[in-house]
Symmetry: C2
Subunit: 555 residues, 2 copies
């Protein structure tokens, strides 16, 4: 059975039954159909949240197919529930664009999925749409002001960094000229579209503490400059009230269920290469308020997702994970050992051994945060016994907790031993994490500390553009923000071909972006695509729906 078939083989429980299990009164639920509900923000209890156990799932450097972090997250969550812990999975919302591209759905896999899988992968409760509209309303206000006769702010169209957003894999929108067609069409200028998940509105949603904070962050969005060089903020266009109004439902986390009928809260889905890559702070806190354990994940490898989870999200929200689960797969380690993607299903102990330094690197850099780490080997049917033993021994020999994770094939039952190790780790964790840098450090210093401690780089270089932007960032008063590194997920370094555990490399910061509303500085290392394209054979062509509403081709 494929993922969609497995998902459809389990009858979901009415969402009020799921909610009841975690103590939510049905009256509190805002239903979206029978199996989805929005949760009001007053369910957050800061004191309870501080007492609960936050478990972060991250991964080694992934192959293009991904290493099953979401699957492990959901499986582990169901495993913890089987072990008697009140655990809630808190994860990101999938982006619609890639569903019709190459990737298919993103709601876990096999017997570790969240359902209703089709809805979650399609429009869900409309959060992405609301984000897109808030983003694009600001765009419309900008272009309207640029052509305004009576209320012109003097925005220099050449400096406008704010792009429109669309949740679609559509490469033709990467670079566009808008405002053509004569006077009727406004003032022509070059701009483009980001996929919604890569927008600052998404990043802001995930950083916000409440509706008021969301609105204030919107007002502080840095759009571009006036002709006189002074900065223009969204607040200068009075955009924040309408933007926040558009987000009045989207700010509320969404409740669904896992295939094991346990609670899963899904909210926000920022990219992990260009943004912070984790679900909303509000969703995490809500999970911690309603359960004793929250299992959550951060996008891509630990160099991207986990680093940002600690230094940006946890610091801002006052959170500290009690344990980190590092997902490794035998196939990815063989890839880092030099095998091609096509060869990964063939047993190859030598390649696996050669790839282990990638795992080792992630273990080392994670140790800098001072939080216990458990390795989860996400098993595939193509793994050999010998390969599995090798990786388990490798970890145990250096005293690292390790368990096989069989969530795909067995759901929560396949994650019980992983769950036991996680509970042990969490119970013995007594202190808060150690950040990689201080907010008071200069932007340059922050980047160097991440590059050295997390990537193992031997140095950092700044382009001349980046150097002059650094001055501007300090001048605009954004120097105290944390940094949100934008780099390839394919390598620990900033060069995607350097797989395994590269050493002796330098990180090159080509330029900076400013996310003044989300409150971080984005140092750009390498080519980062914020609008994907469709492949030669788009997945959309296989997606179908029958006359009675049965969907096929989503997987």
């Amino acid at each position: 059975m494929n993922d969609l078939q497995i998902a459809n083989s389990v009858a979901p429980l009415p969402i009020q039954q799921i909610a009841e299990k975690i103590g939510i009164d049905t009256e509190k639920l805002e239903f979206y159909g029978k199996y989805k509900a929005k949760l009001p923000l007053d369910l957050i209890n800061e004191e309870k949240a501080r007492q609960s156990n936050l478990i972060l799932v991250t991964a080694i450097t992934p192959t293009p197919a991904g290493e099953g972090k979401t699957t492990v997250t959901i499986g582990l969550n169901d495993g913890l529930n089987r072990l008697g812990k009140a655990s809630i999975a808190v994860i990101r919302e999938p982006s619609l664009g890639p569903v019709f591209g190459i990737k298919g759905g993103a709601a876990g896999g096999g017997w570790s999925q969240v359902i209703p899988m089709e809805d979650i992968n399609l429009h869900f409760t409309g959060d992405f749409h609301a984000i897109e509209k808030a983003n694009n309303l600001l765009s419309a206000l900008i272009d309207n002001n640029i052509q305004s006769k009576t209320r012109n702010l003097g925005i220099d169209p050449r400096t406008v960094l704010w792009k429109r957003a669309m949740d679609m894999n559509d490469r033709a929108l990467r670079t566009t000229v808008v405002g053509l067609g004569g006077k009727n069409g406004g003032i022509p200028r070059e701009t483009g579209f980001n996929i919604t998940a890569a927008s600052e509105v998404m990043a802001i949603l995930c950083m916000s503490k409440d509706l008021e904070d969301l609105k204030e962050r919107f007002a502080r969005i840095y759009i571009g400059d006036r002709f006189d060089g002074s900065p223009v903020l969204a607040g200068d266009l009075n955009a924040q009230g309408a933007m926040a109004t558009l987000m009045k439902e989207a700010i509320k986390p969404n409740l669904v269920q896992t295939l094991g009928h346990h609670s899963a809260i899904i909210h926000g889905g920022p990219f992990a290469n260009i943004a912070q890559g984790t679900n909303s702070i509000l969703a995490t806190k809500m999970g911690l308020s309603l359960g004793d354990y929250v299992v959550t994940e951060a996008g891509f490898g630990s160099d991207l997702g986990a680093e940002k989870f600690f230094n940006i999200k946890s610091r801002s929200a006052g959170l500290s994970p009690k344990a980190v689960v590092l997902v490794a797969t035998i196939r990815a380690l063989k890839y880092h050992g030099g095998k091609s993607l096509k060869e990964l299903t063939q047993p190859d102990v030598a390649a696996l051994e050669k790839g282990l330094p990638n795992l080792q690197h992630h273990l080392n850099s994670l140790s800098s945060f001072g939080v216990p780490v458990v390795v989860a080997v996400n098993v595939f049917s193509s793994d050999s016994e010998e390969e599995r033993k090798l990786i388990v021994d490798y970890c145990q020999n250096q005293g690292v907790s390790v368990a096989l994770s069989e969530g795909w094939a067995k759901g929560g039952e396949g994650c019980e031993s992983l769950g036991s190790l996680v509970i042990q780790a969490a119970e013995k964790c007594e202190k808060s994490f150690t950040p990689t840098y201080q907010l008071e450090d200069s932007v340059e210093e922050k980047i160097k500390k991440v590059a050295h401690t997390i990537y193992g780089a031997s140095g950092v270089e700044f382009s001349s553009i980046a150097k002059s932007q650094l001055k501007k960032i300090e001048k605009l008063g954004y120097g105290q923000f944390p940094i949100c590194m934008a780099k390839t997920q394919k390598s620990i370094s900033d060069q995607e071909k350097l797989i395994g555990r590269p050493t002796g490399f330098t990180i090159t910061i080509r330029e900076f972006e400013i996310a003044a509303g989300a409150e971080f500085i984005i140092p750009i290392a390498g080519e980062i695509l914020r609008m994907p394209g469709l492949p030669e054979v788009p997945a959309a062509e296989s997606v179908d729906i029958s006359a009675d509403g049965q969907i096929s081709g989503l997987f």
Copy 2:
């Protein structure tokens, strides 16, 4: 109190209570929060639908502010319920774009509104978003194919008529160039965006009989031509399955309530100048299945909305209204009598008298359909007694049913006398309507019949482009489609400055568009804007939300 304050002064009933009143089991509802629900299509009962009474609300030629058709529709619906009739209001969904432009909300007014007003005017149940995504997925597939190496259909980018859609007043998107930025960005070409309500996907939704029909219509969308001149359909890109999948919830009508706690079904919202301008066929049939009366409306004046309601929608769906309510306002008639917009609140019997021929024209052209007409004078506090008497006498003197409609100030109570006249009319209506043209007529003949019978034009001229397109339309086999006239709503003619009752004018068809999926031919008479812009002071700037979620500035 403004509309938002009035709407907020009434506590809505839980939507299951509203549903219960019209015999819908709670189990059948798909909740969207507490006060909105989607209705499954199996609630449609074709036989019951044929027996119920369909009441169409249309209007004289409107001023830019609109003459309150939706307000009359909702008020009349509540009035009919007060008179003991099981009546359901079936109306269009408002477009989000204009809410932030100049217009504010569009969910009725005063004490004749549908609630929750904010939700209905913002994202509602996400139908517009789904339409936009289905539209834009097709766009992405087109541009992906144009740059495809292995599966290129040979689409000539210069001929692609299909545009992207966005529900936003954003003039800078009217004309764009996409695909810039080198190889990475696809093949550059000129294109643009329509506001979502003006998209063919919206038109198709409103014409579809079921999910299968929707999908088949998507497959038949005419996109443009190949370099060899042959037509390319959406089906050639295998787009229809994914497009229909995106629409699986959007195809279901939405249930909300009026301020009088009666049922209102809201579904679909196509433009009335460029598309058919009425809610979905599915929603109308669902209303007729669940109630004995359905009060529905068609956009703009009767020359646009009502003509299309009869000749396109009713013909295709096998519907026939039992009565037509023609909404007139004293202010609009004074406008047609030559007064400026600013002078309309001043009593002016002479101007009113001078404007009456506009009303007379709509009465005459509506009589061609052979369905009884009731005039509803939608009263404003600025009307004088003398003015009201004049218009009532004018109608009564020629035997036309007429009533004052006080829905804004008094809700259903203010529409009881109108309701009584409507019931009388419906009860005596025994035959189906007479269409203006036959489907077998040539496209040219259809246009001439509408121009003569409905507009009172003395002739029709075709540009040379239009003439050559006519040949192409017949060649492509689309000649049997009904026509969906695109012309200004500001005049009965195609020249917006010809207010009142113009005579001796000629209609000029400049060009044609083909909506092969919606199944109509769009003759374009005059400049039709499919993407509005924002005004100098966008309404968005006044919209705000407080920390506890109270919205202000929507009206």
